[in-house]
């Protein structure tokens, strides 16, 4: 039985999280001896969609109804569920993005499927359908067995990675059609943050700073470091709360949970609620003047020192490396 993966697109091409979802679904399909079919909604550029073939997808189905060019969880969930039924699909995979998460839950209800969101590894099907997911805000993992015949899994961005092979997928039109009553929200505007770095949930490199920076006027050295690295900036909660930095930069238990490859924490104490959102980063660097700061216990590399001296030097040293 084929595995279906929903792929988010932008201007007709798969988004970055789509390539990861395809890699994950492709791997799961291969593990279970199945085909992997991708589904896209709204306008799709066939040449761009065919590229999913290099990530384990054999066929892409696009439902290119223009009304699906903007997001509506109700219509999206219906389109995906109905197409899954037509194809006789039992397992549907999503990327746990803002949109992916909200449709996955609806699709699970429509398909009477058990759902695991927050998945960080492919299902173990040796005895059931066991999915590893994050729990307790990154402080633990849970293994959850889905017992229903139909299954929905949503994976955490950056948890599985993008695994590119070779090949090209065929692209076909889907058979599902929607009526106007399936749509329930009207998208008025999309406000993108300015800047050319990846948004935090997808960022591979993150430079983050906290109250140790003393004030918003001192963030120049943080931004300079982020810039030489091509990293996205983040901050601790109190810094966003007092308005030194925008809310969307707040990471942690009550902010964005991230798992970049590299997280550099500057002037952040490492409170448990902060760590909860960042402790799945692959490598953590901590710069703090207090050797007793709890963050050092969660760090791979640390510098005990004054951020105002260390950070500019670090930026220079990285510049030198990059220009070497």
């Amino acid at each position: 039985m084929a595995v279906l993966v929903y792929i988010e697109t932008e201007k007709g091409a798969p988004k970055r999280n789509g390539f990861e979802a395809a890699s994950y679904a492709g791997k799961h399909a291969a593990n279970t001896g199945n085909d992997c079919i991708a589904l896209t909604l709204g306008e799709g550029d066939d040449a761009e969609l065919a590229k999913l073939g290099a990530y384990g997808v054999s066929k892409v189905i696009k439902i290119d109804d223009a009304r699906l060019n903007s997001f509506d969880s109700k219509a999206y969930a219906k389109a995906i569920s109905e197409e899954a039924k037509v194809l006789g699909i039992h397992t549907v995979i999503f990327s746990q993005s803002a949109n992916g998460k909200s449709i996955a839950s609806r699709v699970a209800v429509r398909l009477q499927a058990g759902i695991v969101s927050g998945a960080v590894d492919v299902p173990d099907t040796s005895n059931g359908f066991l999915v590893k997911k994050t729990a307790f805000s990154g402080k633990a993992f849970a293994f959850i067995n889905i017992s229903s015949e139909n299954k929905v899994v949503a994976i955490v961005p950056n948890s599985f990675g993008i695994h590119q092979g070779s090949g090209s997928a065929s692209v076909e039109k889907g058979s599902v059609s929607l009526s106007d009553s399936d749509f329930s929200v009207t998208v008025k505007e999309i406000k993108k943050q300015v800047g050319d770095t990846l948004p935090l949930p997808e960022a591979e490199l993150v430079v983050s700073a906290g109250r140790g920076m003393k004030g918003p006027e001192n963030w120049g050295i943080i931004e300079d470091l982020a810039k030489v690295l091509g990293a996205t900036t983040a901050c601790s909660r109190p810094v966003a709360d007092v308005g030194w930095r925008p809310h969307h930069e707040h990471v942690g238990q009550t902010g964005v949970a991230i798992r970049p490859n590299l997280y550099i924490a500057i002037g952040i104490s490492g409170a448990i609620q902060h760590l909860a959102g960042v402790n799945q980063s692959k490598v953590i660097v901590v710069i703090n003047k207090d050797p007793e700061a709890p963050f050092f216990k969660a760090a791979d590399y640390g510098i005990v020192g004054d951020a105002f001296e260390v950070v500019p030097k670090l930026t220079e040293a990285i510049k030198k490396l990059k220009s070497a």
Binding site: N99, S102, I272, A299, D300
Partner: protein
């Protein structure tokens, strides 16, 4: 306007996470339970503000056992008018959502709020499921919500920005940071909460589609490698050659 706010009980954010029964159960010994921050700080407070501006009623609902009455009273102390507790110990998301949808289906609610996610299961599942079960619109991760008649304009968090949408009541919305400012209950609120109705209703049958088999803790980190502040080149070298991150 009739508003329903879904509230959940979660371990305090500083709780030490340990497991019992061969790592199959969360060890609740000594754990302090709190209202899920997204539900309390953002969903509930925005619901109260809407009521204060336009009139109506704010009901909170929790699916749980009698132990949860303490957090329900807290929500009443913050300002909710009344509460429903579906007496049940289910935690599987479809089962929780089924209980909420069943209790809400004849309530005539204009808006159903949930939090963005619970901080213990982090499913972000309940809101979408309730919406689907009740065939309603669902807008996730709202950081701003304004009503004008029966039309809401909602700003929701998406990767790298915000999306502004319009939706008509009734709808389900999940609350993220920024939607409102946390309110600390005062003495009067706490006293009044004791007299507000907390209606306990029995659960309806619902099917479990998944089960937690075991928990594990992340592998402990090796000790940090400390580098002298006078030798940042060494850090750059380690990040380049050892960690291969830059």
């Amino acid at each position: 306007m009739k508003i329903l706010v879904c509230i959940s009980s979660v371990p305090d954010t500083t709780s030490k996470i340990t497991f019992s029964d061969g790592d199959t159960k969360f060890n609740t010994d000594g754990v302090q339970w709190i209202l899920n921050p997204y539900d309390e700080w953002y969903a509930l407070v925005r619901a109260l503000e809407l009521k204060e501006a336009g009139g109506g009623n704010v009901t909170v609902i929790n699916v749980g056992g009698p132990d949860n009455d303490a957090i329900i009273r807290k929500a009443l102390a913050v300002g909710a008018d009344d509460a429903i507790r579906v007496n049940s110990n289910v935690t599987e998301p479809f089962q929780v959502a089924s209980q909420i949808a069943n209790a809400a289906k004849d309530g005539g609610y204009d808006i159903i709020f949930t939090g963005k996610e619970t901080i213990n299961y982090n499913g972000s599942n309940i809101g979408g499921m309730v919406a689907e079960l009740l065939d309603m619109a669902f807008v996730s991760y709202a950081s701003k919500l304004e009503m004008s008649g029966n039309i809401a304009t909602i700003e929701r968090d998406i990767e790298g920005g915000k999306e502004v949408v319009e939706v008509k009541t009734p709808f389900v919305v999940s609350a993220s940071k920024g939607l409102a400012e946390q309110r600390i209950p005062n003495m009067k609120g706490i006293m009044m909460a004791k007299r507000k109705p907390l209606n306990v209703v029995e659960e309806v049958p619902s099917e479990a589609r998944r089960a937690i088999q075991k928990y594990i803790l992340p592998a402990p980190k090796a000790a940090v490698k400390l580098i002298s502040p006078d030798n940042v080149e060494e850090l750059v070298d380690l990040l380049h050659n050892e960690a291969k991150m830059i």
